[in-house]
């Protein structure tokens, strides 16, 4: 049994190890290892397309993480006071947003937004004062951020709600009994208790958005995110440069995940 477990762990980690190893390849071909060097990292980091894609991904992932933590936490707090059909409705929506395939969300969002924009743009042009260039709505940062946030917001709601359910109600009652205002009770009692879940939600949202390919592929408009860039590079052929970028992406998500795990672990200990 132990041997089986070791085999599965090897299965999980050898492919990652191979990418990392080949990213240090000194040779020009992806599949032949000829000595070790950092040259492909240098090459990747001086490639303006890579840097652009990285910055785009970073802006999107950060916005998604901030938005989802805010929306998810407020919604989770409000939902605990909600009962009846409305509660069922929200639970259903959360369930659907987590479960629906990314490809369907990507396509549906693309089609819906393009249609809405096609309808709104001429309207805006007529309404806009003359001489001023009317704004032209199109796919871009906002559409990817909004589409990612649908999933990650629901994820934060689930995480925070689980934490609220495990919270000691007596503390809140004690705070009320000691004449703390509701706001102060929230700030000094509730928030510190749910904070680890919010932090974990923030980091998971960031990771999801940063790693997502299929939704960004459809709704990012002219912006290229890092996964979209990697995808099109792989289509042209695997180079050690792609391995170097892949390794950096893996490393970035690993660091964030370890932080998220640490936050959740602290939560479990409390």
């Amino acid at each position: 049994m132990r041997i089986y477990a070791i085999a599965v762990f090897l299965f999980l980690y050898i492919p990652i190890g191979i990418i990392v190893l080949f990213s240090f390849n000194a040779g020009r071909h992806a599949s032949e290892l000829r000595g070790l060097s950092f040259q492909w990292y240098g090459k990747a980091l001086s490639n303006p397309f890579v840097i652009d894609a990285f910055v785009t991904s970073l802006i999107i992932a950060l916005s998604v993480a901030v938005l989802s933590s805010l929306l998810g936490t407020t919604a989770a707090l409000a939902l605990q006071r909600l009962k009846g059909p409305l509660r069922t409705f929200f639970d259903g929506m959360i369930y659907v947003s987590v479960m629906i395939p990314g490809i369907v969300i990507g396509i549906a969002t693309l089609v819906a937004l393009v249609t809405v924009f096609d309808f709104l743009n001429p309207l805006l042009a007529t309404v806009w004062p003359e001489g001023v260039k009317p704004p032209k709505l199109s796919m871009g940062y906002a559409s990817v951020i909004a589409a990612h946030t649908l999933f990650t917001m629901s994820l934060v709601i689930v995480l925070v709600r689980a934490r609220i359910a495990g919270m000691d109600r007596a503390l809140i009652e004690a705070s009320m009994d000691l004449y703390a205002t509701p706001w102060r009770t929230f700030y000094q009692v509730t928030l510190p208790q749910i904070f680890p879940a919010i932090l974990a939600g923030f980091l998971l949202s960031f990771t999801f958005s940063f790693d997502d390919f299929i939704i960004s592929f459809f709704v990012a408009g002219p912006n290229t995110t890092l996964p979209v860039y990697i995808f099109s590079s792989i289509r042209r052929g695997i180079t050690p440069e792609v391995n170097a970028i892949g390794t950096m992406v893996l490393a970035a998500s690993l660091i964030l995940l370890m932080t998220a795990q640490y936050a959740l672990h602290r939560r479990a200990k409390r």
Partner: protein, 286 residues
């Protein structure tokens, strides 16, 4: 008192407003639009041009292969995932000291949250021309082709979604009352019988959750068949990407999306019904 509950209601509404807007504009509206479009005509330059027709649904058979592949490989992949994941989850939950349990579990889950794209393309490397086939040539098996086969797609699936299967099974095994296992042993049941009659039934909720999560994700899979199926083994997701980006046939793509979601809803509802009635019976037996 009454005032307070009223202001409380306002607060609840205000806190839920942004989330509601999100669900409305990013989930409900797009799903309605895609549903409506699936009955529309295709514009000459691609895109959508009003009207009402069922031709796209009638035309679904032209993508039959994609649906067939999805409907066979998704359940098969889920099953293989389960078979690989269960022993590992069992080992982690019941055979590892609590000191290492958490670390090992985290090690299983971490890959799931890193880039699926990068992890999947690692397998292009391993299964491709200069990977395992070259190694096999050394020991005398020539001309073995691994990439762009159903097997390659299955390996990619197990690799990508194993963590998602291990986690719920681990949780249900971990919760299981260890006294029951001891009691079964004390009453003379063989380890195999204990597993079959006590452990396995009690871990059913975890198995059900894991299978559902993996199956749902596989139904909409695009990356794994795109990288490891090489145009030969393709899913509905791949057909959709082609339609939307290459031929820009929106109404037909919409019809395929609607069909995919409908198949998923039916399967999942059926599956949950079946499982709930089953577990209900188990509970009544206890």
């Amino acid at each position: 008192m009454r005032d307070q509950s009223k202001s409380g209601n306002w607060l609840t509404a205000a806190l839920l407003a942004p989330t509601s807007l999100w669900f409305l504009f990013m989930l409900i509206l797009p799903l309605i639009v895609i549903f409506v479009f699936s009955f529309g005509e295709r514009a000459a330059a691609g895109g959508y041009a009003g009207g009402f027709t069922l031709e796209h649904y009638a035309n679904l058979s032209s993508r039959l292969k994609a649906f067939q592949n999805t409907m066979t490989i998704a359940p098969l992949g889920t099953l293989v995932c389960l078979l690989v994941a269960y022993p590992l989850a069992y080992f982690l939950a019941l055979r590892v000291s609590s000191k290492f349990k958490l670390i090992l579990l985290v090690l299983v889950i971490v890959p799931f949250w890193t880039s699926l794209l990068v992890r999947t393309y690692a397998w292009i490397f391993i299964l491709g021309g200069r990977g395992i086939p070259t190694l096999l040539e050394f020991i005398g098996f020539e001309g073995v082709r691994l990439i762009n086969t159903q097997g390659a797609v299955l390996i990619g699936i197990v690799y990508g979604y194993l963590p998602l299967m291990v986690f719920p099974i681990f949780v249900s095994l971990e919760k299981l009352d260890k006294n029951l296992l001891e009691a079964s042993g004390d009453l003379g049941a063989s380890p195999f019988k204990t597993f079959w009659q006590v452990t396995l039934p009690l871990s059913m909720p975890g198995i059900a959750t894991g299978c559902m999560l993996v199956f749902i994700l596989l139904m909409g899979e695009f990356l794994i068949p795109a990288f490891l199926g090489g145009g030969k083994v393709y899913f509905v997701g791949n057909a959709l990407v082609d339609l939307f980006l290459q031929s820009r046939n929106w109404p037909f793509g919409a019809a395929i999306s609607v069909t995919l979601v409908a198949i998923m809803l039916i399967t999942v509802t059926f599956y949950m019904r079946m499982f709930n009635s089953k577990s209900g019976r188990d509970e009544s037996l206890m």
